[in-house]
C-alpha cells in the first residue's frame, strides 16, 4: 500500500451543542485522489478547516508527511507543502492573473521581505508562476485583471496558485462549484493529471467528477464518516445507500 501523506486521527469539533466533526479518521495516500462527499451541513467545511489549520480540533490529531501538525498554523502547513483551494475563489481581484500566481511563488520562496526590487524582475519567481499558469492553460491571460476572468478561469487560477507551492498534497474545496459541464470536464482532466504530482483530498458535490476521478471515497454525514472505500464498495454500502445515495438517487 502506498505511503500515507496526510491523515486525521479521530478529530472531533463541537460548536455548542452541535457536533460538526465526530471522531473523523481519514488518510490520503501518495498518488491517489480521495474524495469526501456528503450532503449540505455534513461538516465538510469544518473538516477542511481543521486539516488546513484554520480551526483547532477539540480532540484528535492531524498528521502531514509523518509529523503531527495539529498545533501548527495554516501558513506553517502551507510551507510544508499542503496546498488548498477555496470553494469561493479567494483571489486578489484587483491584481493580474500573473500577480496572483506570483503570490504563490513568493510564498513558496519564503522571502517576502524585499522592499525595493521589482517583483517582476525576479526570474525564479516569475518562471515558477508562469509554469503553473501554463500547466492550467491560463498563460495567455497572464496580464489580464483577475476580476475580468470568467468563473471557470478563476477556478483554474485557484488550482494554479496551489501548484506554485510545489505541493506535497492538495486539499480542494469543491473545485467544480458553479462550473458548467464544459468547464467541469476541463478541470476534471486537469485534476486527473495532477495526482501524479501530489495526492488530492477532494471535497466535492459534483458526483460525475467524483466518479470520474476518485480512487477512494469517504462519506460524511452529520459530522461522521459512515463509510470509506473504493467506488464500488461505496456504491454497495447499505448505510451509504440509506443515508445519502438513496436520497440523492
Amino acid at each position: 500500500m502506498a505511503e500515507v501523506v496526510l491523515s486525521t486521527r479521530g478529530i472531533t469539533k463541537r460548536f455548542g451543542a452541535v457536533t460538526a466533526s465526530e471522531d473523523i479518521s481519514l488518510d490520503l495516500r501518495a498518488g491517489e485522489i480521495h474524495a469526501v462527499i456528503g450532503p449540505n451541513g455534513a461538516g465538510k467545511s469544518t473538516l477542511i478547516a481543521q486539516i488546513c489549520g484554520g480551526l483547532a480540533p477539540d480532540a484528535g490529531r492531524v498528521e502531514f508527511l509523518g509529523r503531527d501538525v495539529t498545533a501548527r498554523p495554516v501558513r506553517a502547513r502551507a510551507r510544508m507543502g499542503l496546498a488548498r483551494t477555496f470553494q469561493i475563489s479567494a483571489l486578489a481581484m484587483e491584481d493580474t492573473v500573473l500577480q496572483n500566481a506570483l503570490l504563490g511563488a513568493l510564498g513558496a520562496s519564503g522571502r517576502p521581505w524585499r522592499f525595493l526590487r521589482g517583483v517582476l524582475t525576479e526570474r525564479s519567481l516569475r518562471d515558477r508562476a508562469e509554469a503553473a499558469l501554463a500547466r492550467v492553460g491560463l498563460d495567455d491571460v497572464a496580464a489580464v485583471r483577475t476580476a475580468e476572468l470568467s468563473h471557470g478561469q478563476r477556478r483554474l487560477l485557484e488550482v494554479a496558485v496551489a501548484l506554485t507551492l510545489a505541493p506535497r498534497a492538495f486539499v480542494m474545496d469543491e473545485p467544480m462549484a458553479g462550473l458548467g459541464s464544459e468547464g467541469s470536464e476541463r478541470l476534471t482532466t486537469l485534476l486527473g493529471s495532477l495526482r501524479r504530482e501530489a495526492p488530492i483530498l477532494l471535497v466535492e458535490h459534483d458526483m460525475d467528477a467524483v466518479f470520474a476521478l476518485a480512487d477512494r471515497v469517504s462519506v460524511l454525514v452529520y459530522g461522521r464518516v459512515i463509510a470509506t472505500g473504493t467506488l464500488d464498495e461505496i456504491r454497495a454500502d447499505p448505510a451509504v445507500r440509506e443515508a445519502y445515495l438513496g436520497d440523492a438517487a
Binding site: 506553517a76 502551507a78 491584481d95 503570490l103 517576502p112 522592499f115 517583483v119 506554485t164
Partner: protein, 326 residues
C-alpha cells in the same frame, strides 16, 4: 502616457514651479504655504502606505506625526538650552536635521510597532476605533506630561540646520522638503512593485489566501504599518521645523482625521493621491478661511461631495478607475 501619469507630471511641475511663481508674483508667503502642503503630503503618503496598499484604516496617524514632531522638539530644545538629553550618559541634543530625522523615523516606527502589534489583532471597524483610541491615549499623556511643555508645547527659536543649506530661507527649506517628498514617493513606487508590495496588496484583498501560500498576512501588514508610521513621523519632524514649534495639537484626533482627509480627497492607493489631496486642502483652508469664519461648513460639504460622487478621489475623477500599482 495615460491620464494619471499626465496628472502626476503636472502636479510635479507645479510643485517645482511654485517658488519661481511666488518670487515673480511678489507673493513670498506662497512658498511657506506650499511647504506646508508638501509636508502634509508627506504625512499622507505615509498613511497611504498603510491605507492604500495595506487596507489598514488607521485613524491614529497623528501619533506618528506627533512623535516625529516631538523628536525634533525635544532634541532641538535640549540643544538650544544646552541641557543634556540623557543626563547620565551626557548625550546632548542636536540642531542637525539629518540626525533629527533619523531619531524621528526610528521613534515613530517604534510607536507604530507597539500600536500595530496590539491593533492588528483586530480588523475592520475595531481597527479604526482602536487606532483612534491609542491616539487619544498618547494625546492625553502628552498634555499632562509636564517635562516638555505639555499643552504649551515647545518653541524652537531658530530652524534646525541641514548641511550645505540655509534652512531659514523659505525657498531652500521648501526645496529640501520637496526632495524628501519625492524620495519617499519613489520609495513608495518601488515598494508597491516589490515582493513585499505584492504580499501586502494581497493581504489587503484576501488575507486568507496569503495565509494559505505560507505567509503571515498580519506580519506583512505590521511591517507596512511601521514603514507608514516612520514616513508620517518624518513628516512630523519637518512640520515641527516649518513652524519652529511642536505641541499636542499634532497628536490630536482631528489631526488624524485631516491626514486621512488628504489621502481620501486625493485618491486612496494612488501614488500622487496624497499630494493632490494635501495641496487641495491647504488651498481650500487658505481661501475658504478668508471667505467666511464658518469655512469649515464648506469644507465639510466639499468632503461629502467627494465621498458621495467622486469615487477614487480627485485623481480618480481625473484619471479613471484603474489603480496605479498594477
Amino acid at each position: 502616457m495615460n491620464r494619471e501619469a499626465m496628472l502626476n507630471a503636472a502636479v510635479l511641475l507645479a510643485l517645482v514651479a511654485v517658488p519661481g511663481w511666488a518670487l515673480w508674483a511678489g507673493e513670498p508667503f506662497t512658498i511657506t504655504l506650499a511647504t506646508r502642503a508638501v509636508i502634509f503630503a508627506l504625512a499622507a503618503v505615509g498613511l497611504n502606505i498603510a491605507l492604500g496598499l495595506g487596507g489598514m484604516v488607521s485613524l491614529g496617524h497623528a501619533v506618528y506625526f506627533g512623535v516625529g514632531g516631538y523628536a525634533m522638539g525635544i532634541l532641538a530644545w535640549h540643544a538650544q538650552s544646552y541641557t543634556p538629553l540623557v543626563e547620565a550618559l551626557a548625550i546632548p541634543g542636536t540642531k542637525s536635521m539629518p540626525v533629527i530625522w533619523l531619531v524621528a523615523v526610528i521613534s515613530s516606527a517604534l510607536a507604530a510597532l507597539v500600536i500595530g502589534v496590539l491593533a492588528l489583532r483586530t480588523s475592520g471597524v475595531y481597527f479604526i476605533m482602536i487606532t483612534l483610541a491609542f491616539g487619544q491615549m498618547v494625546y492625553f499623556f502628552a498634555i499632562s506630561w509636564p517635562a516638555y511643555g505639555g499643552e504649551d508645547g515647545l518653541s524652537i527659536y531658530v530652524r534646525n540646520g541641514f548641511p550645505g543649506l540655509n534652512t531659514l530661507v523659505p525657498v531652500q527649506f521648501y526645496g529640501l522638503c520637496l526632495m524628501v517628498l519625492l524620495a519617499v514617493l519613489a520609495l513608495n513606487w518601488r515598494l508597491a512593485r516589490s515582493p513585499f508590495g505584492l504580499a501586502l496588496n494581497a493581504a489587503r484583498q484576501v488575507p486568507q489566501r496569503v495565509e494559505t501560500v505560507g505567509l503571515d498576512p498580519t506580519r506583512v501588514k505590521l511591517v507596512a504599518l511601521v514603514i507608514s508610521g516612520a514616513v508620517t513621523g518624518l513628516a512630523g519632524a519637518l512640520f515641527a521645523d516649518l513652524n519652529r514649534f511642536v505641541s499636542t495639537t499634532m497628536l490630536s484626533w482631528q489631526m488624524s482625521g485631516e491626514i486621512m482627509v488628504f489621502v481620501i480627497i486625493g485618491g486612496v492607493g494612488r501614488l500622487f493621491g496624497p499630494v493632490v489631496g494635501a495641496g487641495l486642502y491647504v488651498i481650500l483652508e487658505h481661501f475658504l478661511g478668508d471667505l467666511s469664519d464658518y469655512w469649515q461648513v464648506f469644507l465639510g460639504l466639499i468632503l461629502l461631495a467627494v465621498v458621495l460622487f467622486g469615487r477614487g478621489g480627485l485623481v480618480g475623477i481625473v484619471a479613471g478607475r484603474a489603480r496605479t500599482h498594477g
